[in-house]
């Protein structure tokens, strides 16, 4: 099916600003799903609140637009009662890691089968440009007029430490890699985290003089490198892209099925 077959065209053009990286994530995600040849009815997209979370309204799947930061908790309920469904949970960096941080690490710990996409634009877009836990030290935001003194999480390290069995990172510039990674993440059985370095030209870009959307993507082009590349050794400031973790681990819903078996046996 052409990717337009996966969207709700009547709502386009979407509400995102010109050049918003979230649109590129949408673009990539649709292509990944198309390549996987999945049917619309087997996909559930659960999102929270934020510009990024509006993505759920645009895709023609089962879409659950929840409350800020809690998407993964809702998704857990959906997945546990319908394990055959494929859960995709796109979240903004604030949604996933500020207010939603606890659900993020606990979902990872349980290794419940779903794909969490962190659309990281390093800012709160929807509310107009406040700093997020991924903005990083020294950045400017409407609530950090004297520059931000908060350190940023490393999404990859946090997800890994919390127990996610698939952890990857890409950017809105590297759309082909992104599509490929999203495919792997969706196929992976267990909790997968894909961080996408995205751009908010309207707020993060303007506040931090990062130029146009294209300029911000240029930055990702020039300041990232494949995982374990030697470029990284020469220049530690480079951000690594690619798959960081991919391991076989018992998946939560399957484990629970065993519990049910045991419980029913005991009973009989």
């Amino acid at each position: 099916m052409a990717i337009k077959g996966y969207i709700r065209e009547r709502f386009f053009p979407h509400i995102w600003c010109p050049g918003c990286g979230h649109g590129i994530v949408l673009n990539s995600l649709l292509r990944a799903i198309e390549k996987l040849g999945m049917s619309k009815n087997e996909i559930v997209v659960v999102s929270g609140i934020g510009c990024s979370s509006r993505i759920s309204g645009y895709v023609d799947f089962h879409t659950l637009h929840t409350i800020h930061g809690r998407a993964l908790a809702f998704a857990t309920g959906v997945k546990m009662s319908r394990p055959e469904l494929n859960l995709i949970v796109p979240m903004g960096d604030g949604d996933a890691l500020a207010i939603g941080g606890n659900h993020f690490i606990h979902s990872a710990r349980r290794n419940i089968d779903m794909t969490a996409i962190v659309m990281n634009n390093r800012i709160y877009g929807m509310t107009g440009g406040q700093y997020s836990p991924l903005s990083g030290y020294g950045t400017l935001a409407t609530t950090a007029p004297y520059t931000n003194i908060d350190y940023a999480f490393d999404t990859v390290e946090l997800a890994t430490a919390a127990g996610a069995s698939f952890v990857a990172r890409s950017t809105t510039y590297h759309v082909q890699q992104l599509t490929k990674i999203l495919k792997q993440a969706i196929l992976h059985e267990g909790f997968s985290v894909v961080e996408v370095l995205s751009q908010c030209p309207t707020y993060f870009g303007r506040k931090n003089r990062k130029g146009t959307a294209a300029d911000m993507m240029e930055y990702y082009k020039n300041n990232t490198t494949p995982v374990g590349s030697k470029a990284k050794k020469e220049n530690p400031d480079l951000i690594e892209r690619g798959v960081f973790v991919e391991k076989e681990m018992l998946e939560y819903c399957r484990e629970y099925d065993k519990i049910i078996e045991r419980a029913m046996k005991e009973r009989a």
Binding site: K40, G57, H62, R70, A73, S81, N102
Partner: protein, 383 residues
Amino acid sequence: MKNQNIKFIQGNEACVEGALYAGLDFFAGYPITPSTEIAELLSYRLPQKGGKFIQMEDEIASMGAIIGASLTGSKVMTATSGPGFSLMQEALGYAIMTEIPCVIVNVQRGGPSTGIPTHVSQGDVYQARWGTHGDHAIVTITASNHQDVFQTTVDAFNISETYRTPVILLYDEVVGHMRERLVLPKQGELPLVERLRTSVREGVDYHPYLPREDGRLPMSDFGGVHRYNVTGLFHDMWGFPSDNPEVVHDLIRHLVDKIRNNVNQIARFKEYYLKDAKCILISYGSSARSARNVVEYLRPRGEKLGLLELQTLWPFPHDIVNEKCVNAKHIVVVEMNMGQILREVKRAVERPERVFIANRIDGVFITPKDIRDILRVIQGKGV
């Protein structure tokens, strides 16, 4: 010889029995005294019937999980107490807005804040009605003994499915923890309302938020043949966000009226000796047991005393209460808070100056003597 259908258990266990009888499939929760036994027992019982239990990282996540599960067609429940109930308020509003059936049990303990966790109170009555932001309506039910706990739990699921609304089961520590007899009804003995599923076939345009003539909203299991959108934003009949004033107005009216206009259908109550009662006690939950004791004690001693035991607290059955109380000289609300149902009774009855309160707010379960002492004062008899 032992009757397999008779059990000697805690109120919290009776609630579990009721939930399982009603067809509970999924429970998500976070432990908190005095509700924890509900989660503990369900972690054991649910998988035995192929159902699922999960202990989440907190109460917010628990609400999220049950809402998600309900959307796929499961009957769901969570259980908590005051502090957890406060945390659930945001997600509770989401369930109200999206009209997703779910049952929330709040086994009340002493508040505010951490309060007295192991002592009884009925202090969350108003929070159950107004705890989440924005205009809304909600159903809240309680009970005073295990047979009624079972029955009201089943009711809660039925009402939740019928009106597609969260229902709060507002029990209290005394009922939750005490043990007494429960006679399990046979399957089929109590009517069960199952999820009303849409009859719209695959491919035909399904409107998840277009009520039928009878006001009910048929559901399509999430993940099924109909793809639609669910959002906590105001939304149109397809479930898509809208700030069109007409859409907003109609939705909020629908959400509130579907409950308000059915206040009498939702009302559950019991009455004792009301016909000729000069003085009527109005109570609910465990305090109704002490009130009942007082009535049974004073009737033989010649006092024209009656008891109206409320089970449905919200929507508050104003007309019923008013009508039951027309001839009473004194109306005394017996509760373990500072007068929450008292407020409603005063709003409900004519000549509110007839209405008094016999309460206790120190964490101690109100005794018949407490009530009798206050009664005498109200009746002008002095101590």
